[in-house]
Amino acid sequence: MEQAENNRLECAGDTECDTRASLRQGLLDEIKRLRRFSNRGLWALSLFLFVSTLAWREFSFLPRPEKIVAALGAPPSSKIIGMVLILYTFSAIILSLSRMMAGIRHKSSFCHVGYLSVFYLFYYFAEALADNYWAVFGAGLTILCMESYRIWTFCNENIGKKVEQLAFLDRTGRLPPEDPLSE
């Protein structure tokens, strides 16, 4: 009789067992997705370091800047590129900080790698890469470190919440009510 009572408490019917199992699996899948997502920033940083290595070698696999200039016309001056770089760095940092404060899940890391690669290329075509390499590298490292940190703290926080929900589910057989303060 005691065992039957326990069984009732643990799982009243196959339907409830299935519901609990599916909720549990859903939470575990979400935790897995968050763990994978938390590494996104590091992958983007690795890709940026790879592009920076190519830029350090002056993009030896690309045609010489003179040929590109002859085909496409003169690139913007290094002064203009520098001003745009400062504007971009400032905007990207502000955006990252505001997303951090709002706790938004935003997959923005790889687009920054694209933007920074374009800056490297513009400097290469303007034949000013040697003088301005460290500016682009510093900007990229700052922005991508911020993005990695933002994504990592977002994922850690949400993994913690999911683990708590999982514990609650195991204890009570249902999900906890949503916290109105967390919205």
């Binding site: 400062i86 940092i93 900080l97 490292l141 922005i143 940190y149």
Partner: protein, 267 residues
């Protein structure tokens, strides 16, 4: 480190301030270097123009000795690495190094390729196009200016030797100037900017750390110690002089502890 407020508050601030400062420093230095080099090339072009004007009379009178003396005197000036005058055919007519005279120069050589790249040589050059930098045999950085000697009516009509009026360029002046002073100035500017950036970084980071520690971390520490001590002594009074929000938390905690203590006493 990221479990504590100190880690979460200070690490992003440190990354952002350092990174942005580094970017601004590098771009500013690159811009200043560009301006300094442009000025340096401008002055070098002026100097080339002065040399051409100095030798003009001697060339008009076809006085080779006078021309050689002028070239030699100019090359003895501190900061001048070499002075050469080529004829239109690329033969060295005058040089600060006597051994170079009558030598033929290849049109594909560094100073010559700018004009002779295409089949039809260029006859006019911008200031920056006339300039090139290289390291000489002593390892010194040299800025060389290649200035065309243009044909003028006095030259075409001179009695010494005939240059047809259709010939636009009579020869080339090649003057090399030491870049030691310019590089030394750039190095000095760089060191001053590095020092300024470091001071700004230290001041900003120290300021932010000090403010956060004073306003947030120390009061949080007081509150934490109060909650830990009041577990063993429920009569402990909450700390005074906390910021408004933490003071509210401390007072609420004190109230709850007192209520709990009363309930425990009654039961």
């Amino acid at each position: 480190m990221f479990d504590k407020i100190a880690g979460r508050a200070l690490v992003p601030v440190g990354i952002v301030v350092t990174g942005f400062l580094v970017v601004c420093f590098v771009l500013l230095y690159a811009a200043i270097k560009n301006v300094v080099i442009h000025d340096s090339v401008g002055h070098a072009n002026n100097l080339a123009g002065i040399v051409l004007k100095s030798t003009r009379y001697a060339m008009l009178k076809s006085d080779r000795d006078l021309n050689s003396t002028i070239i030699r005197n100019i090359s003895e000036q501190e900061g001048v690495e070499h002075v050469r005058i080529f004829s239109k055919k690329g033969i060295v007519a005058f040089s600060s190094k006597p051994g170079e005279v009558n030598r033929q120069v290849d049109t594909k050589a560094e100073g010559c390729i700018v004009c002779h790249e295409k089949q039809e040589p260029m006859t006019t050059l911008g200031n920056m196009q006339k300039a090139r930098t290289f390291k000489n045999s002593l390892g010194k950085e040299v800025l060389a200016i290649t200035a065309p000697i243009y044909n003028e009516p006095e030259c075409a009509n001179a009695a010494c030797h005939v240059h047809p009026a259709s010939q636009k360029v009579l020869g080339i002046l090649d003057i090399g100037l030491s870049q030691e002073a310019t590089l030394s100035s750039l190095s000095s500017i760089k060191m001053q900017m590095v020092l300024f950036s470091l001071l700004t970084l230290i001041l900003t980071t120290a300021g932010v750390i000090a403010l956060i520690k004073l306003s947030v971390l120390v009061p949080m520490q007081k509150l934490q110690e109060y909650t830990e001590r009041s577990e063993h002594n429920s009569n402990l009074k909450h700390p005074a002089n906390l910021p408004y929000e933490l003071d509210k938390i401390a007072k609420s905690y004190y109230f709850i502890r007192n209520k709990l203590h009363e309930i425990e006493k009654k039961s």
